[in-house]
């Protein structure tokens, strides 16, 4: 099909310009849009800082004193930066994850409340449907525009986070923290808020009242969150496997020896001829199977929720 036939197609004339519809959705929800952009910008800035200058001091500690004397010491030397964090690199490393989780909850709440239910409650949805926009196209725009922002925003943050992980995960205290972060970061980080968006929309359409829809959406996303953390009873067998790390002390001859256990005792380190330390988390072969399975389940549920939402709307709009 050539460009000229496309331009002449009558469908292009009859349908309201989708660009206008997209623009009106953006204009309606500009506060939410600005908040989302601010969140993405701030979190991306934090991730970049953690990848770059933020890691320097702790990385030097690791290199000089190893895991026990460097990483552990740095993690527990708390100097309060601002209230959300002790300022220790080990704590700051998880803050983007907290922010992404909160933002995912916010997406579900936004979808249930302002995006859908408030419009139905106040009657502005019907206003849109009388502006030569069919209900189905209205809902498509309402879903597609936020979904695009969610995918681009969380996708970008996830990439930056993976980069941060490969650069500096060796500065994290071993335990459940690095393990659950490692296994949760990936395509599923993007799919989860999409499911939140779809569930919020479905609930908004079903409940049609802002505040109850908000409460139900929050609860629904809590269930999704519990699924991602393997908290559902049936998930007991799918707990994340251990994540192994490898540490070495390196002598002046370049030989790799095990940590002599000197902590910050320089004389002791000199006695063992240790010049620096290295440490890394080893990639797990379980990572991609787990991520792809989780993403698949989340996207399938998203598709079901979207289909139900359109079905519900069609039934409503036909009768009303």
């Amino acid at each position: 099909m050539s460009a000229t036939t496309l331009a002449k197609a009558p469908a292009a004339v009859e349908r309201p310009a989708p660009r206008g519809l997209v623009r009106s959705v953006l204009r309606l929800h500009r506060t939410a849009l600005w908040i989302w952009l601010a969140f993405v910008a701030f979190t991306a800035g934090l991730l970049l800082w953690l990848t770059g200058p933020g890691a320097d001091a702790t990385a030097r500690q690791l290199e000089r004193f190893g895991y026990g004397g460097g990483v552990m010491e740095a993690a527990y030397s708390t100097d309060t930066l601002f209230y959300f964090t002790s300022g220790a690199y080990n704590d700051l490393f998880y803050d983007p994850d907290t922010l992404i989780t909160l933002a995912s909850f916010a997406v579900a709440l936004f979808a249930g409340g302002p995006l859908i239910a408030r419009e139905l409650e106040s009657g502005t949805a019907q206003l849109a449907w009388t502006q030569s926009v069919s209900p189905a196209r209205w809902l498509t725009a309402k879903l597609a525009v936020p979904a695009a922002f969610v995918v681009v925003g969380t996708g970008l943050l996830t990439l930056l986070y993976r980069q941060l992980w490969s650069a500096h995960s060796n500065l994290l205290i071993a335990g459940i923290g690095p393990r659950s972060l490692y296994f949760s970061l990936g395509p599923a980080t993007v799919a989860a808020p999409l499911l939140g968006l779809a569930l919020g929309t479905l609930i908004g359409l079903a409940v049609r009242r802002t505040l109850p829809a908000l409460a139900f959406s929050g609860f629904a996303y809590f269930l999704v969150h519990a699924f991602r953390g393997n908290h559902w009873p049936f998930q007991g067998r799918y707990q994340q496997p251990d994540l192994s790390s490898r540490s070495h002390a390196i002598t002046s001859t370049g030989a790799e020896i095990s940590d002599p256990g000197c902590y910050t005792d320089k004389a002791c380190l000199a006695g063992h001829d240790v010049v620096r330390f290295t440490r890394e988390y080893l990639p797990s072969s379980d990572y991609w199977p787990r991520q792809l399975l989780e993403t698949g389940v989340l996207l399938a549920l998203t598709a079901v929720a979207v289909a139900l939402a359109f079905g519900l709307l069609r039934r409503r709009a036909a009768t009303g």
């Binding site: 209230y83 002790s86 802002t210 505040l211």
Partner: protein, 253 residues
């Protein structure tokens, strides 16, 4: 002045009728939590103990699933109760105040022979009473359940939720959330922004106070630390409530 003149019975009944759903949800939540705690302590713990007793006495992972399900459930209940202040803040900013101002039903009440100050008193006093009653039921049961099977639990008195749920602090957070939600609702007059901002403000306050909790704590120092934080939270609640009444007085005749 007796309570009857401050809060006429008709006003009390009206406020109860308006917010009965929230009241029922709160009652179900508190009683459900308490019921779960009793069940976990009296029934589940014994069966977990039996499973563990049947295990061979070397450090194998036998019985860890049963142990995990018990401690996890108790932890969830205490976490939910601790963060119930989020729901309270959201509800107060949204349904209690913000929605009434936006839709004009607050004005409807004020033109029914109820002064705005009395209306606000009733709107604050009844939920506050519900929060107090809920705390009075939950806290003793939780303290009992928490200390019943320490060997099956992996938590510590200094965990944020455990620390607060052990006394009046958890109620103080609820009351403060009520006051903060009310003030933001009055300030903004729109439910959704009021809801978002009151939750954010309460979270900030909560995180700020969590930061100043002591790290290693001897058992004898628990109560001073707990009560100091409760006093701070209640002071914040009192200041916010005063500000809310001032604001309302300034706006209406």
């Amino acid at each position: 002045m007796s309570t009857a003149t401050v809060l006429p019975r008709g006003l009390v009944r009206t406020v109860l009728r308006l917010h009965r759903t929230a009241l029922i949800v709160w009652a179900v939540f508190v009683l459900g939590s308490v019921g779960c705690l009793v069940w976990l302590t009296e029934v589940t713990a014994a069966s977990v103990q039996r499973t563990l007793d049947a295990c061979p006495g070397n450090g194998s992972l036998c019985g860890i699933g049963a142990w995990h399900s018990y401690s996890e459930s108790v932890s969830w209940i205490s976490t939910f109760m601790y963060y119930s202040y989020w729901a309270v803040a959201a509800w107060a900013g949204g349904a209690l105040i913000g929605r009434e101002l936006e839709s004009g039903t607050a004005r409807l009440a004020w033109s029914q022979g109820v002064s705005p100050a009395r209306w606000l008193t009733a709107k604050l006093a009844l939920p506050a009473l519900a929060l107090l009653l809920g705390g009075a039921v939950f806290v003793p049961v939780y303290r009992w359940a928490w200390s019943a099977h320490r060997e099956l639990m992996g938590d510590h008195l200094l965990f944020n939720d455990v620390f607060a749920d052990h006394g009046p602090l958890v109620v103080a957070y609820g009351l403060c959330a009520l006051a903060v939600g009310t003030l933001t609702g009055l300030l903004l007059g729109r439910p959704l922004p009021a809801l978002a901002i009151s939750v954010a403000a309460m979270t900030l306050l909560n995180r700020a106070l969590e930061q100043r909790r002591p790290d290693p704590l001897p058992a004898s120092a628990f109560w001073p630390a707990h009560l100091t934080e409760a006093a701070l939270v209640l002071t914040a609640a009192a200041l916010t409530t005063t500000a809310a009444f001032r604001l309302l007085h300034h706006r209406t005749a």
